[in-house]
Symmetry: D3
Subunit: 329 residues, 6 copies
């Protein structure tokens, strides 16, 4: 987790970045086109290095907070504080003007140079595949501080499920739920799941459609939220467990009409790490364009009662109360 500060406002930003060791006091420092990049570009305009405190090992609430994409200018450490119901205790770094969590296991203090790139990679990523190798900014280490007998927390990142899917997935679920709150004046939204196993690229909405076509509006919203990651959104109905792939899959075959319920939205921006989407001509692999897909696997709306019943699971008679053991010798 990197903590940096907007050089104009002094407001902190905290996000997760990968670092490949390139020498005794140097690593790479990849910056995807999100908030951190905006801050870095401000330092570049001043031709100054950007001070960075890399925090290794902290309270899980801090890790979750770092995964949030909220409005630009909101301090993720405040989010962590509200998750903890107590402000995060902070201490100043020794060589740079950045505050870090007091209980962190280890902190690498340093700065990202305003110029120069190094080759790096490939890296396993939250998609579960490798990010393309490429050039990245340069991080110079100024100091390393740590607790006594620090525990090195190696964040796993790669084929799902690893730490990165679960942390970011939870953040996406929270933010998308909020983004969907008032869609069409309020949905009967019952659950939102960003499937880690999909490399964070599929999101499942569980909702009871109040009128025909409503699920599709909700799916459009789920693919246009603060998060870039989801490119496939699937809606399931109120009788489906949105975290159970078996039930999702059953919905996708028995409740989806291929022509009416699968919609493609081409030429939209896609998350940098989705290797199957096209790189924008002339740009690095961080910039991709592709197709988002909506799959409406809900039943007919509650206004269409008879039609809706056709899609009820045909469960065995007595499934709920029969005690199988009574039948065994």
């Amino acid at each position: 987790m990197a903590i940096i500060k907007d050089p104009e406002t002094g407001i902190r930003n905290m996000s997760i970045h990968r670092q490949q060791i390139q020498g005794p006091d140097q690593t790479g420092f990849l910056i995807c086109p999100r908030h951190a990049l905006r801050i870095y570009q401000k330092y570049q305009q001043r031709n100054e290095p950007m001070p960075v405190a890399m925090v290794i090992g902290a309270h899980p609430a801090i890790y979750y907070a770092s995964g949030f994409t909220s409005s630009y200018g909101l301090d993720e450490l405040e989010i962590a504080g509200s998750l903890l119901d107590d402000p995060v205790r902070l201490v100043k770094c020794e060589t740079i003007d950045i505050e870090v969590p007091a209980e962190a296991e280890m902190v690498i203090e340093g700065e990202v140079l305003p110029e120069g790139m190094v080759e790096e990679g490939p890296f396993g990523e939250a998609t579960g595949t490798y990010a393309m190798e490429g050039s990245t900014e340069i991080f110079k280490v100024k100091a390393i501080t740590h607790r006594k007998n620090p525990m090195f927390y190696a964040m796993q990142c790669g084929a799902p499920m690893t730490d990165t899917q679960s942390i970011t997935g939870t953040c996406i679920e929270t933010v998308v739920t909020d983004h969907l709150k008032n869609v069409e004046g309020g949905l009967d939204l019952l659950d939102v799941r960003c499937l880690g196993i999909s490399g964070l690229m599929a999101i499942v909405l569980k909702l009871r459609p109040r009128v025909e076509g409503q699920a599709k509006t909700a799916l459009m919203a789920a693919l246009s939220s603060p998060y870039l990651h989801p490119k496939i959104a699937i809606a399931v109905d109120d009788d489906i467990d949105a975290s159970d792939l078996r039930q999702i899959f059953w919905s996708m075959t028995t409740r989806v009409h291929g022509s009416r319920d699968i919609v493609k939205v081409p030429n939209t921006r896609i998350w940098s790490l989705d290797n199957v989407s096209d790189i924008v001509p002339g740009m690095s692999a961080m910039y991709r364009i592709g197709t988002k897909v909506i799959i409406d696997a809900t039943k007919p709306a509650v206004t269409q009662e008879t039609e809706r019943e056709r899609f009820t699971p045909a469960m065995p008679f007595g499934y709920d109360h029969v005690d199988l053991e009574a039948f065994l010798p």
Copy 2:
């Protein structure tokens, strides 16, 4: 403007409804499938009439507030109060337990029966066309109160622009702007316009795309907001006035590639009053399903500088500072 109360929570809801006079003490009362319908259905379950205070003539802020679609359970009179920077002064009705703005010109007190429908219509509507005739709930008048020498404010509704487009359009612009705030972690969103002339069904986003494909994500969000009305969303770039149809149209011809920049999302829910969209089979004309359309008329993203320049307007030399009068005799 009708003020009603949730019979369970007592929270007020304020919205605009049309009433056709059907007798000395009776009018129709059309309820579209939104918040007011939820409340009415609660009264129906109790088999009780729903008390309604129809307010005619009030401070414009109250009219604007009545046009908002926010979370279910938010009192629109509080919104009006915050617009006015002062709570709306209220008085009790005389025959029903509802509060109304103290300065209202006129108030029709009554109740909507839990059963029975009457034929009614056609009505001119905010689309600019006529809503289909159909059956509507029954409103029974219990009392009419008014100021001395009241001024009857006849809200115009019909071919744009009339009062309904400007009130609701402004509300849509506000809510959609808020809904778009953090899309993709924050857009360079410069303006949002819900064109009244489109019968509230087109919305224009002015934004500067930071990366390729970003405008399409924003357009998806604009068509999946709290408001049902927009079915066409158009994105224009930073050099275009989003309220000027001429510039919008010029963008749509010079900056749109038909295959890549026009995307259709079929089978979504559509606003009840869009006569060109299909009625859900077996339902009234209040329930419609149709196709939403995204038109990305922005220039290439700011990352593609050379490509972006190709689309600069070729303004006459000296356009900004030449004084035409100097050339006239």
Copy 3:
């Protein structure tokens, strides 16, 4: 399982039919438009009842054989025999000229009338939903024979997984594998799975594409085999377990480009029991038309080595040989 005979050739046909009890000696007898219907229509043309022996409880190989769709005129009891490596021992029925497995637990002898229909249903079906109620042919019971102390084998049929999905699914996998054998002169086909959880409507091909576009040809073949059931076909690559929904799903998000890899083939015949597909106008619910969907979730072909590597799962270092217990206290 019903055993009948072609009245012209005397060749047996064995298939599974549902029967709802409608009186002491009468049940319904639903005939989908497949081989059994052809035979029944021959009896109808002669205006004769069709003798039927319903077999309840038999060797599993016989159940599997009854699930096969092969050439018209192939005796499914011969297939059972070849599965058993020994001809099925048969005995004559007592009231009709049909042979049945000698070890069957119970046999209901009877005949389907050439005329007359009764209302029946709804029934839970192999899709996991209910088949629509409708009219069905009439079965008249002539005799019931059984072993001493017979065990009544109640075939479960309904929300997956039940007996019907596993029996038919296995048959589909076998037949489709054979159907794909020589496609494009031979594929590197590694596994075929008809997912029971999909209600038999999705089939997964595991294959290593030798050249670009080959997986799509294979998927077309998988949706045009002797079996009607699959309407969705998904291809996964050689590193994926085709029976593991998690890996399938991961492939569908990380290896599928929505515009290029999802193809819809509309207006094709669809299995009678897929409630989401349209009923042919003027026909019973047995006749449906809908859209088949191809999803190519393979990696780039083996000829594109560099591109192919981009999609390798990024497994944790040492995943294969690390012993987790060595790290635990």
Copy 4:
């Protein structure tokens, strides 16, 4: 305006070309792939320079005539004559064998070399954007003649509306009206407008559809006329002013069903100056291919009376005859 002659037939061609000054006696001379190019290629085959008389300042009828695209071999000066109801008075040039209007303010006599290209541009164009810089043929000046105290008429060309849109737009309207005359045996065609504000790329047909689907046929014809410019064609109905963007836009939202009324025709030839369309691989920016778009914003046909009425504008009661002043103090 350049006047040239077919070297085989001697027939004149008049068209508008841009010239960038490149030296005391040299300019560029861009030739789009139309009639003038055919003539120039004939001179090239003879390896001769093409004599050209550039006319600056003439009767507006002559400017309009130069904008016409008619059959190859029709002298645009004859068109001007018929517009004027009198033949255009002509005089011989002094250094080349070309006739020019006698009242022209100024004439630049010269020739375009059969070989050699120069770099040039960018230029503001009739689209309202800049044409790409590129190479162009070379024009050598031989003489400049002019009236006494000539007035230099600088034809404005750039962001609409300038002279080029109004001149060419009028020509397009005339020719397309003629092209549509007998479509389907004759349409109820009421107006044709080539909107200058669209950079000449959108054309609006006002027509009353006699039968369903007729407007789409008319729109196909409007995009396959003698003129290349229009790539978007919009049909509006008999109650709409085809020159009023507000009414066009209202039609596009209230009378268009996205799935049924917007049709894309991809991979057609597109006007050279439409920067958003793709350049043909291996060719200059003069050769483009793209997508034409049809938008049918008419009401249901006159045969569907009831349906048609649904789309009538809901104008305020008494709109036509109320005198607003009577209501003002």
Copy 5:
């Protein structure tokens, strides 16, 4: 062939109509929605019968002229005259005020009643299939005149090729050629064939594309001409005989890329007799809506020389000048 007159202008219209005998002095008289219907509707508004002279047996030029669809108000007998290079000699009818060709074999004089319909059909039609039975207007015979020993010319109409395909097909070819004359400022159009074998619904353009995408523009024009009949338009290149189905078919397989060269234009008006197209809801079978199809089977444009050569037919060496007989014994 029926000759009628516009009751307002007195201008003649001549067109081919089918008549089923329904009694000694009565036949049906089907009027498709074209010019004749406009005239009949004028009589209906006056509540007068429409006088009609049915001409049976005349000079072929008159038959061809009757097949032309030109501007409303052009007398087809004048067209016949110009085909014959001599005005058609006319004589007055005996009971109605209509002129008929003097050399006609037989003339049935009568009138179509302004009211009343009779059931009729089915009829074989120019499509080669049967027109749906339906109701038709009533023709009352007033007199039959004829030459001495007249020859009854029974116009064949049905599965192609019969008289109706060849007459109308030739007219379509002529009119479409004219309609295409100036498309894109003039095409290299080499032949136009309306294939009778297609039931007049396919038209083939032979042209040499001067620039990429030009054939598609031409095909759009061919499907939006004065004639309704063609719904499929195919472009072939300069080395193909446009009347030879074998060469057309070879072009369609070797020169067509399914995704790029086949374009569908749905929801357009379609010829009344195309049974596969949908009837407009609420209308008779005379009103249909369907999909037009463009197939561009030309080679790459002449500007792409290398690419164009790839599609040259690989004819056997010496194909043009070898004398096969020299090789035979």
Copy 6:
């Protein structure tokens, strides 16, 4: 015809290859990506030359057998034997360990080198166009043996129809018929024609659809068979001669609804020689990807009797038994 042997199993493979003479003892030897390539790659892995016997002039049954694509590992000479009802008599080559037909006119013995490529081409091909020039493997001649007074059989290959279309076309028809045998449990398949005139790329199925949508399933199967060649599949009904282009074309216009009956399956593998399909990026012209097209020109299914009748050809009365000569003088 080249006969080679799998170096591991010793099983023969026989296929047709083109050879361009490049020197006294050298020719090219093009290997498309099919069975022969698999065998050659095995020799390459051993770094050994592949012995090849080129047979020129043999019994037609042997030529037909060489055109079959069956399971890998099936000896085409055995197929020839079963066609002849007698094993093909074989003799050993003189310089290599390969058997060849004893009655062959001529045999070129040689080997294909494991390394090295030469430039070659262009060649006329079975498509009727030229294959792109390119690099090909090298064949070294070791010996030429022949009968006394051998007849050189020059296999014609080029614009259809030549030998290659008729030989391969017949093989395709046989194999596809077999592949379709049990589709949907058995079709009413009446004929299969691979049209030589289409360059082997179109296949026509004649079938009587038992239920709606069945023809489309059959067409999918026809485009996913052991043969790569067909990319267009057309279904015609039971009253059409599948080898008569006129009747096929008539079906395509009168029985095809463009939107419902033409389906495109993009991004599938396409036959190497289809010049209009795209070359896989980075690969030789042997590897192509493109769009397969399904055209369902059958009538409505036999279950829709009334609808089906609408499409009956309207043949002239008495067409079957009238003797035209009886009417001639």
